[in-house]
């Protein structure tokens, strides 16, 4: 198993390298001006002042050398410094990462918490309620996230005054009050993020539950004397499989959606760092984000590949055979 993991990790390395190379090329071949990055495009700057500052702001080397330096520093886990404010990239990212994680994880939980039960009900019986629920979710899922966000802001925050409109709360000392405040601030952005996922999850879960809970299989199981908990225990691993795969369908949509949602709800996460970084051609910052995203995707695939055999014996045999062939 260890060998399998190592081999998978090694195979991922060229992919990672390729991704960073492409990202770097795009960022560095587009025209950019450090003067503009530094001033956020503000202020009349004369030719005299420009020539005075030009040398101080000009990159020391060409793009090839810059990429090589970047790569070398990366080996020492040095991501460089943001071109905009000169702070270490790791400091900028560690400030923003927790916000993105908490928002996306909450949305993921919300999707599962509502999508699975709806799917279950839909699979169990033809119910008008469940159908209507699914129809509503389907309708909501086709509303573009930014439009949904604007509608919900106007309704729940401005008109009804039930929920905070934007931001992350007053902060302050950690405690139950601060946590409750944060939760209140998360309701709207989290719901907006989950909107598109709910319909997908409900439909996906309904189909999955239908296949698993096929009457023939149930009848056979009952005939063997299984019922209640023992019945669930036999069927649970089977049903888990598609729901692990479902994450792969939801997470990329969440991550891309959260860039928009973060901007609308003033959520201080990575999406905003990315937007600002791309606008300002802040390549050390953007490169670190690209790398982070690539590693997340590749690691996600690896984890899925490891979890699935643990659940599904058939896949376990496949991995074992793979081990024997290569190892």
């Amino acid at each position: 198993m260890t060998g399998y993991i190592l081999r998978r990790a090694l195979v991922s390395l060229p992919t990672l390298l390729g991704i960073t190379l492409i990202a770097f090329a795009i960022l560095n071949l587009l025209p950019s001006d450090p003067l503009l990055t530094w001033s956020d495009g503000a202020g009349p700057v004369s030719a005299e002042a420009t020539s005075r500052l030009r040398d101080a702001l000009r990159p020391d080397s060409g793009p090839v050398m810059r990429y090589a330096t970047w790569l070398f520093n990366l080996l020492r886990f040095d991501f460089g410094h943001s071109l905009r404010d000169g702070r270490p990239v790791t400091a900028v990212l560690t400030e923003a990462l927790p916000w993105t994680l908490i928002l996306n994880l909450s949305a993921l939980i919300a999707i599962y918490a509502l999508g699975l039960p709806l799917g279950w009900i839909g699979a169990r019986r033809r119910s008008g309620t469940a159908a209507a629920g699914r129809a509503l979710l389907l309708f909501l899922s086709v509303v573009p996230p930014f439009a949904a966000a604007l509608l919900m802001q106007r309704l729940f925050a401005v008109r009804l005054g039930l929920l905070p409109l934007q931001g992350t709360g007053a902060g302050g000392a950690p405690g139950p009050a601060a946590a409750a405040d944060l939760l209140r601030h998360m309701v709207l952005p989290c719901t907006c993020l989950a909107l598109a996922g709910w319909a997908y999850a409900a439909r996906y879960a309904r189909a999955a539950f239908r296949a698993i809970l096929a009457p023939e299989a149930m009848a056979a199981a009952r005939a063997r004397g299984l019922h209640g908990f023992s019945l669930a225990r036999h069927f649970a691993p089977n049903s888990a499989l598609p729901f692990v795969w479902m994450v792969a369908g939801i997470v990329p949509a969440l991550v891309s959606g959260s860039v928009v949602i973060e901007a609308i709800f003033s959520w201080p996460g990575l999406g905003q760092v990315l937007l600002r970084g791309v606008e300002g051609r802040d390549y050390p910052l953007v490169m670190a984000l690209v790398l982070l995203a690539a590693i997340t995707v590749l690691a996600g695939q690896l984890v899925a590949d490891l979890i699935l055999p643990a659940i599904d014996p058939r896949l376990r045999d496949l991995v074992a055979r793979d081990e024997n062939v290569h190892g």
Partner: protein, 576 residues
């Protein structure tokens, strides 16, 4: 699972009822959403929960679209940084809401007869927020850092290039000597003063004070939560007395629409009102009960630069530039797209020079003054004269219609615009339509800001729509119009006129206000005749301020961008 039978048992009427109820609920929810967005502002609660209203002054929340890059007073020259620095730090001089120079850290100053020496007398007893006295040594240090290219003081360097020496003969005196008489000298010192004792010995780019600034301003720094907010508190020992507010908070809100909704929801106390709803809001009694409004026209204006250096066959001819400028319907744009909230701009000096025939004692330019020069008055589109001018310049239209041609070359060019700016894109479409009627085909190329900037700098374009933000002094147009600024500056039209060059330099050396204004009038008349740029319009800003606060005064640089600015904000009398 034994429960499967239970489901079937519940079949029949109840289930149908349930389905109907659900459908009704769905319909209601949709209707509520639609209603919420069409009826707009509402009887929402007045006082948002969790808002502390205790204390003498309360807390004012101001939205910032972009987080400041740094709060190092010298390096932080982006708009957001400058706004925060104004509150935390003091400059030697500042300007009031009418853009007149007023004293700040310097109680007084005098300019020597030769116009080369400027002597400031600092206020006695002023201390930084950490208790250390602020002296002329801090001013000297701030100047040194600005001149050090490693400080990246973009946008601050210009005013100090003509400086020969800065001396501090005693702790309360700063003497600045210029190489030659320099009329805009005083305004150059609108720069916040750094605490030298916190930067000496530290790395200037990464010093702790860059993210926890210490100044002498009316508010002291409390905290900076990355991506979220910057919190300031009143400085009770401010030399002009404590400010009217207890706390001042900058909330980072990237979306302008969110900022406006946050104003309605009571989460911020100031926000720009979208032009499309500004008129209806002004008449809405509910809105007027909860908010006061301020209106100002920023100095910023839009223009189209015609690249006139002969790199294209069109724009080296002033008749062509004049014709195109005449054909463009600025008035219609301001009226219909901006809902009347803006001004047509026919001269870059429009807001900076007082109207002709004003009292000779008025030393200061009046913000938002209407065009004065007679030549600039014709701002209504005039396609007939434009067509005549184009004919005269050799660009003729065949009797069968189609594009204008000269020696077989069709009049077909590309306009660069910033894709991220609503006004940029919308106006370019208006201009495209105006020119099509004249037999000119204008292709619009949308670019991101960095690409547009680099194309402008390299002169790699035929025409470009952009904007310019002059300072309060007319000399700031030097960068747009002087021929030395074609390469590296912002003279993107490549306008080259020896007279204009000479007048700009003469105006710098002229200390007499009237003479100086006369020189700028000459430049203005020349620019209006030559039309290197088509000057377009300046959108107005309408902003709402929560009625719980009083003292908001608009200047062309907003409610914070002047003295006293935030210092004068205070809780409204009778309010909570």
């Amino acid at each position: 699972m034994a429960c499967s039978g239970g489901g079937r048992a519940r079949a029949g009427i109840p289930r149908r009822l349930l389905a109907a109820a659900t459908r009704a609920a769905v319909a209601l929810a949709v209707a509520a959403l639609v209603a919420a967005t069409t009826t707009g502002c509402s009887p929402a609660r007045d006082e948002p929960p969790g808002r502390s209203t205790g204390g003498r002054g309360g807390r004012f929340v101001f939205p910032l679209a972009i987080e400041p890059a740094t709060l190092n007073f010298v390096s932080g020259t982006d708009q957001a940084s400058v706004l925060v620095e104004r509150l935390v730090a003091d400059s030697l001089v500042d300007h009031d809401a009418d853009l007149r120079v007023v004293p700040r850290l310097a109680a007084s100053w005098e300019i020597a007869a030769d116009g080369r020496t400027l002597t400031f007398h600092l206020r006695d007893g002023v201390r930084f927020h950490d208790g250390v006295a602020c002296t002329s040594a801090d001013v000297l240090y701030t100047w040194e850092r600005i001149m050090d290219p490693a400080s990246h003081a973009v946008g601050r360097v210009d005013a100090f290039l003509p400086v020969e020496t800065v001396e501090a003969p005693d702790p309360l005196t700063v003497r600045v000597t210029y190489r030659e008489p320099y009329a805009p000298a005083l305004r150059g010192w609108e720069i916040p003063i750094l605490p030298a004792h916190l930067y000496r010995g530290a790395d200037f780019a990464t010093a702790a004070a860059n993210r926890a600034p210490v100044g002498t301003g009316p508010f002291r720094f409390v905290s900076w939560e990355a991506g979220r907010r910057i919190v300031l508190a009143a400085n009770p020992d401010y030399w002009a007395g404590p400010p009217g507010l207890d706390r001042f908070e900058f909330a980072i809100i990237p979306s302008a629409d969110t900022a406006y909704q946050a104003l309605l929801a009571g989460e911020v106390d100031y926000a720009r009102i979208p032009q499309a709803v500004a008129a209806t809001r002004a008449e809405d009694p509910e809105f007027r009960r909860r908010f006061s409004t301020v209106r100002y026209v920023p100095l910023f204006f839009y223009y189209i630069a015609w690249r006139g250096d002969g790199s294209n066959p069109f724009f080296a001819d002033a008749r062509v530039r004049r014709a195109l400028g005449m054909a463009i319907d600025r008035q219609g744009y301001v009226r219909s797209v901006l809902h009347g909230l803006g001004e047509v701009v026919t001269s870059p000096f429009q807001a900076l020079l007082p109207p002709a025939g004003d009292a000779p004692t008025a030393g200061a330019p009046t913000a938002g003054a209407m065009p004065a020069a007679g030549a600039a008055a014709a701002d209504a589109p005039d396609p007939e004269t434009a067509a005549t001018l184009l004919d005269a310049a050799g660009w003729r239209r065949a009797s069968t219609g189609g594009l204008r041609r000269r020696n077989g070359t069709p009049f077909r060019f590309t306009l660069l615009v910033f894709a991220g700016g609503e006004d940029h894109v919308q106006f370019s479409q208006v201009a495209q339509d105006n020119l099509r009627r004249l037999g000119i085909e204008m292709t619009i190329e949308r670019l991101d800001w960095q690409t547009l900037w680099s194309r402008l700098k390299s002169g790699d374009f035929q025409a470009a729509l952009s904007g310019f933000m002059p300072g309060p002094d007319a000399d700031s147009l030097y960068g747009l119009l002087h021929s030395s600024q074609i390469d590296g500056g912002q003279n993107y039209a490549a306008f080259r006129d020896p007279d204009t060059d000479a007048w700009f330099l003469a105006a710098r050396r002229t200390l007499d206000d009237r003479e100086r204004r006369a020189l700028y009038r000459r430049i203005e008349n020349r620019i209006v005749a030559e039309q290197p740029y088509a000057f377009l319009f300046a959108p107005a800003v309408i902003a709402g301020v929560n009625a719980r606060f009083a003292g908001a005064k608009a200047s062309p640089q907003g409610i914070l961008g002047h003295m006293p600015g935030a210092f004068a904000l205070r809780p409204a009398a009778g309010g909570s």
